[in-house]
């Protein structure tokens, strides 16, 4: 039915681990969205800060620091997941992060949503997903 290409190392991946990887990445997208909301809350306090003050703020403004710590956790989990899953599956899942951020932005910050904005985000989600197919 379809041609199967074996990439080096891919033959030893078992389905259970692959499912686990997809699940981890799905949870990661929520983590990214929450991190992004925290970073935005922190950044809002730095709207008049200079570049040096902004740099220091990353470590001293609690929501900003917490957001970057979450990003660190995400990176570790993502690298682990990449080892066991396929990029072509994981990228479309990671693109879900844009959806959560859009939803949380309108709920938490009451940001406006218009049809063009929703279409634009959907196009970017599709684009990131397609990139994943190109990488496998």
């Amino acid at each position: 039915m379809s041609t199967v290409t074996i990439t080096p190392g891919a033959h030893e991946v078992d389905p259970a681990k692959r499912r686990q990887a997809a699940l981890i990445v799905a949870c990661c997208t929520l983590l990214i969205a929450v991190a992004q909301i925290l970073i935005k809350i922190g950044a809002n306090r730095l709207s008049h800060a200079g570049f040096m003050a902004t740099f220091i703020g990353i470590f001293t403004v609690p929501p900003l620091f917490a957001g970057y710590c979450l990003y660190g956790i995400f990176t570790v989990l993502f690298v682990y997941a990449l080892r066991h899953g396929e990029v072509s599956v994981l990228y479309p899942i990671i693109a879900l992060g844009y959806v959560w951020v859009a939803i949380l932005s309108s709920v938490v910050f009451h940001e406006s949503m218009n049809p063009l904005k929703i279409v634009a985000i959907a196009i970017i989600v599709a684009g990131v997903s397609v990139l994943g197919w190109g990488k496998s």
Partner: protein, 117 residues
Amino acid sequence: MTTPASSIVLVLIGSVIGSVGAIFLKSGALVLRPNLSSIVLNWRLALGIITYMLSSILFVKGMSNGELSVLFPMVSLGYICTLAWSRLFFHEVITKAKVMGISLILAGIVCLSLANK
């Protein structure tokens, strides 16, 4: 609240610089040996970390004004740059799927800035 153009520019430049950081980290990781001096004396890794920090500053500065729902998706420009650098420095192949992905992301970014009235 609408997003000022300066915020969009800061986030876009931050994404481009971040993608350069990823290239330094990768090239640093390629020559890494499992001993402390190889990690500490690795100028590529150091440059990668400095570049990442710089991109974070621009990113936070950009985020400090404007809408998250407009600014966050703009970070996807970094994916496109990473592909371009990978082609240039690691001679990775640009497949049809990659070209399609790049086009979609660019179209999305343009739409997003148009949606930001």
